[in-house]
């Protein structure tokens, strides 16, 4: 059941638009971290739907995990346990070869990912990052867990009020592009998404912008130019 702290957090933001963004901002203020992001997850991993990010790096963190299919949020969601990585410099590249290197480049030194789950159902993940290394103190950890529960309730509230349609819509092109690439390369959809992600990662672009080029027929993954 909802704890007193979770009820308090939710009463402070009190519904309304940008609920998840305001919760993330409150979470950022409550913890000694640099940025906070929230992404929706499915049983297969990141959905690519980032529903809140307090800064560009927080958004980039979520994007990277979607692009690479690896990282703390992927792990936290799959295991149902928080993933706490207080020093990415030391442990990051070994644990997540590509994600670790990429986030260090972006100036992220520590990352803490909290699963948003309802029973065994994976809903999403709350990611907090820091630009200096260091553990979360116990009080911060307790607070982060309370925020994770509050964000879970907020996500369900939005789902019951059609509040997640727009964020889910925003990823439509990525999936359309995946379908196109699958035919272009004659591969399965999962492989097509990997190729899309790899292209984005290696060309240092977001998955969304590469997808827009594919859908706009400015970029094709098969050998020659596309047939008109």
């Amino acid at each position: 059941m909802r704890s007193r702290r979770v009820a308090e957090i939710l009463s402070e933001v009190d519904g309304g638009p940008d609920l998840l963004m305001r919760l993330s901002t409150e979470c950022l203020a409550a913890l000694s971290v640099t940025g906070v992001g929230v992404a929706l997850m499915t049983a297969d991993g990141p959905s690519g739907v980032v529903v809140a990010a307090t800064d560009d790096r927080a958004r980039q963190l979520e994007e990277l995990q979607f692009a690479l299919g690896e990282g703390p949020c992927v792990e936290a969601s799959a295991s149902g346990r928080p993933v706490l990585q207080p020093d990415l410099q030391v442990a990051g590249p070994a644990r997540w070869p590509r994600f670790g290197a990429a986030v260090l480049d972006a100036g992220v030194q520590a990352i803490f990912a909290f699963p948003l789950r309802v029973g065994a159902i994976r809903v999403g993940v709350l990611d907090c990052y820091r630009d200096v290394p260091g553990r979360l103190v116990p009080a911060d950890l307790a607070e982060a867990l309370a925020y994770a529960r509050a964000v879970t309730e907020a996500v369900l509230y939005l789902q019951s009020h059609d509040g997640l349609i727009a964020p889910i819509d925003s990823r439509a092109e990525v999936h359309q592009a995946t379908g196109m690439i699958a035919i272009q390369l004659n591969v399965g959809l999962a492989d097509a998404l990997l190729r899309l992600r790899a292209h984005a990662y290696s060309s240092d672009r977001t998955v969304a912008s590469v997808a827009a080029d594919v859908v706009g027929r400015r970029l094709s993954f098969d050998d020659g130019a596309m047939e008109p």
Binding site: M1, L40, T42, A43, D44, S47, V49, V118, G119, I121, R122, V123, E153, V155, L156, Q159, S160, L164, I168, R171, A172, E173, V174, H175, Q176, A177, T178, G179, M180, I181, A182, I183, Q184, L189, V215, R217, R218, L219, S220, F221, G224, A225, M226, E227, P228
Partner: protein, 253 residues
């Protein structure tokens, strides 16, 4: 401990334990009804719960109790209804008052061999979700202590039910969200597959898919799944309009 005290202790644990995987609300309320009879010096018990449409008979210790509750609903009178409406216990044993207040119900009560009726609210703070009815074949009302224990049982059961409902509602929403995410992915992927195969722009590819689904009375989601699996291609492609030539030549990669 006496065996009654033991049963009482077990009952409170059982009534609090709603967070099990195979929770069944009817079994749970049936437990409340039968234990009420065993523990409270009553001869029959019945439980009504409310939903948006009103009160429903959910469980009873005997067929007679079930009939009595149904009479209450049919005739819109009786202790359970008063209790649910006021959120307060109803204890009435005086025959004349009963006949005045609930003429039909009181007659049925006597016909079925009962002399008194009690109703305890199933309530948490301001929220009354139903009532527990207790019937006795002897005249006179239940003791203060029996009523207090009965109310405590009703209270614990209410907390358990509300908790189970909240969790079930959350799970429903979480599953809905999962379904929305995955079905949306499939739909968009299918559009992409079709757009690539036909050379049509995305919106026309979607139109083609929709017309195909509508024309054959199929669900769009099923058609999308088939397109992804590559199994409705020939039909669909035959229906496809020829794409207009692009305005500009696509760039070489």
């Amino acid at each position: 401990m006496t065996s009654r005290e033991q049963l009482l202790a077990t009952t409170f644990v059982d009534l609090a334990d709603t967070l099990v995987a195979d929770f069944d609300v009817i079994d749970f309320l049936h437990l409340l009804a039968t234990r009420s009879v065993e523990l409270l010096d009553a001869d029959a018990a019945g439980i009504m719960l409310a939903d948006d449409a009103g009160l429903h008979v959910m469980a009873s210790s005997t067929e007679e109790a079930r009939l009595l509750e149904l009479y209450e609903l049919q005739n819109d009178e009786g202790p359970c209804l008063d209790c649910y409406r006021t959120g307060r216990p109803v204890v009435r044993t005086d025959a004349r008052t009963m006949r005045t207040k609930w003429p039909v119900f009181t007659q049925r009560l006597r016909e079925l061999g009962f002399r008194s009726a009690h109703a305890l609210p199933m309530r948490l703070r301001g929220d009354t979700i139903g009532a527990l009815n207790l019937f006795r074949s002897a005249p006179g009302h239940l003791s203060e202590s029996a009523l207090a224990i009965g109310q405590a049982m009703a209270d614990v059961a209410t907390v358990g039910l509300l908790q189970e409902r909240a969790i079930a509602a959350s799970e429903r929403l979480a599953i809905q969200l999962q379904d929305a995410l995955t079905s949306r992915v499939q739909l968009e992927q299918a559009k992409g597959v079709l757009a690539q195969r036909t050379g049509l722009p995305m919106d026309q590819a979607f139109q083609l898919m929709r017309d195909y689904a509508r024309g054959r009375g199929k669900r769009l989601g099923d058609v999308a799944a088939h397109i992804i699996a590559g199994s409705v291609d020939s039909d669909l492609l035959r229906d496809a309009p020829r794409p207009k030539p692009p305005r500009t030549r696509p760039n070489e990669r």
